[in-house]
């Protein structure tokens, strides 16, 4: 595999950043991978697990002579991180990210990074409810989709390098307008997370003396697995993508309402048809692997 970057700095070596760092090292896509973060223990773990070549909590040391910086911190922290790095990075340093919301974030990064180097927005659709360098896996992105969201300002060569990085760790790379990405992800990821958290909240609030969670089967477990995801990270994502999420919630409410109307009318035929359409779609997804 050809080296894509000389020195690559990953800011935030948690589940996604740590997995990317480790996968980049394994594939030899960078001459050196530097892990930057705030938590000493997590950085040490990333180093011990061989995800990075070295670690630092010093921003200046982190970005010195970096060819590219990957922001893998929580969404809300990224523009601020970019602002901190801008005076420390050498001219031409490529800035990219892994955030689950793109439009506003990429615009903010372009603004913070103007005059420094190119910016490329990226979002690998991969993760789990776990967090931290301990949960990182070098195969996390293999076969997964990574969406790049170039803007009118995006440098084409920088875009090609970020594409090479993600393809190098096994992802299928696709380009999309940032707003379209945000609407899509609101539906396939952010809404399901909101729903899973709400399902758990609704069920545990049920009174009656019994613990409802003692009676759940595999269905409830699967449906709410992602409600074990870090609350802070997801508060951040839901707030950042509030508009698209609001629209997705409207569609979800309409779908619930349609089922509820069939139940209220005791219209078994209509209810079964609506459920069957969803069943067919979900089975198609199962077959697609």
């Amino acid at each position: 595999m050809t080296t894509v970057f000389g020195r690559l700095t990953v800011a935030g070596v948690g589940l996604v950043g740590g997995s990317l760092a480790g996968a980049v090292r394994e594939a030899g896509l960078a001459g050196e991978v530097v892990g930057f973060g705030r938590q000493e223990a997590n950085l040490r773990l990333a180093l011990e697990r061989g995800l990075v070549d070295r670690v630092t909590r010093d921003p200046a040391e982190a970005v010195r002579d970096a060819d590219a910086i990957v922001l893998a911190a929580p969404l809300a922290a990224c523009p601020e991180l970019a602002a901190r790095f801008r005076t420390l990075a050498r001219p031409g340093t490529l800035l990219t990210d892994v955030g689950s919301v793109k439009a506003g974030v990429v615009a903010a990064l372009e603004q913070r990074w103007s005059g420094v180097g190119p910016v490329v927005g990226a979002h690998p659709i991969a993760g789990s409810e776990e967090a931290g360098a301990g949960a990182a896996r070098v195969d996390l992105f293999r076969g997964r989709c990574c969406i790049l969201t170039p803007t009118a300002a995006t440098d084409r060569q920088a875009l090609a390098r970020v594409r090479a990085l993600w393809e190098g760790v096994g992802a299928r790379v696709e380009e999309m307008v940032a707003e379209e990405h945000d609407q899509l992800l609101a539906r396939v990821s952010h809404l399901p997370h909101l729903v899973a958290y709400a399902l758990v909240a609704a069920v545990v609030q049920t009174g009656g003396g019994r613990d409802p969670l003692a009676y759940v089967g595999t269905g409830f477990r699967d449906t709410t697995r992602i409600a074990a995801s870090p609350a802070g990270l997801w508060a951040d994502i839901l707030l950042t993508n509030a508009d698209a999420l609001g629209a997705a919630l409207g569609e979800f409410r309409a779908a619930i309402g349609q089922l509820e109307a069939a139940i209220a009318a005791r219209d078994a035929g209509a209810l079964e048809r609506t459920l069957a359409a969803a069943q067919t779609a979900r089975q198609r997804l199962e077959r697609a692997g």
Copy 2:
């Protein structure tokens, strides 16, 4: 293991009935297990897989000399099946079921079976999105909860035999008033199913030229897995438990509304606290296995 029943007839050898039949045979809990059903191919499969000793599509042959009959057909079909069997069964035959909704169903069975023998309502909380004898597994109930819902009319000896049956196949048996069962299950099972179907319906209805399902991650897959469950079976369950489900939906809407209000107010603290409470509850469930 002591034999609990001489001849046990399982009416409906699908996922739940087939698994019970096979587990009963394996544990030697019945002298003979007879599979009754409508579909020749499914009955043949149950026989080939060794889930039953013999199969029949003839109701008279199915219940002749049966000590007990387990109704494992779709909910709506159970009272009708009981009515068909009543003139064919010998006096004293125990009637039990595996239905996901209990109050109305058990009352209907008691009425249809009056003068024949004892009735015991049962519901093993186990299953999957799959269906049919091909999906049956003799370990399906191991370690799972099975709820019995005795009424004022329930014969205590019959109750003890049904308990022995479920404990014999590895379930933890608990007794509960039928109405309480229905309210509990509306929350931990029926609502999550409705939500999963609605999530898929909302997402596939999203237009825009792209197939949203091509962009889903493991989160969406898990959250909607149970939307691949048989639509007819679930239309039946949702309709039968409509009242309790309506109440559960109200609680779910309130939980969604609380999250939405925090997002609309851009109140990151309130949003994170609400998500964190759900996260903690869900993680507790994870640890409980």
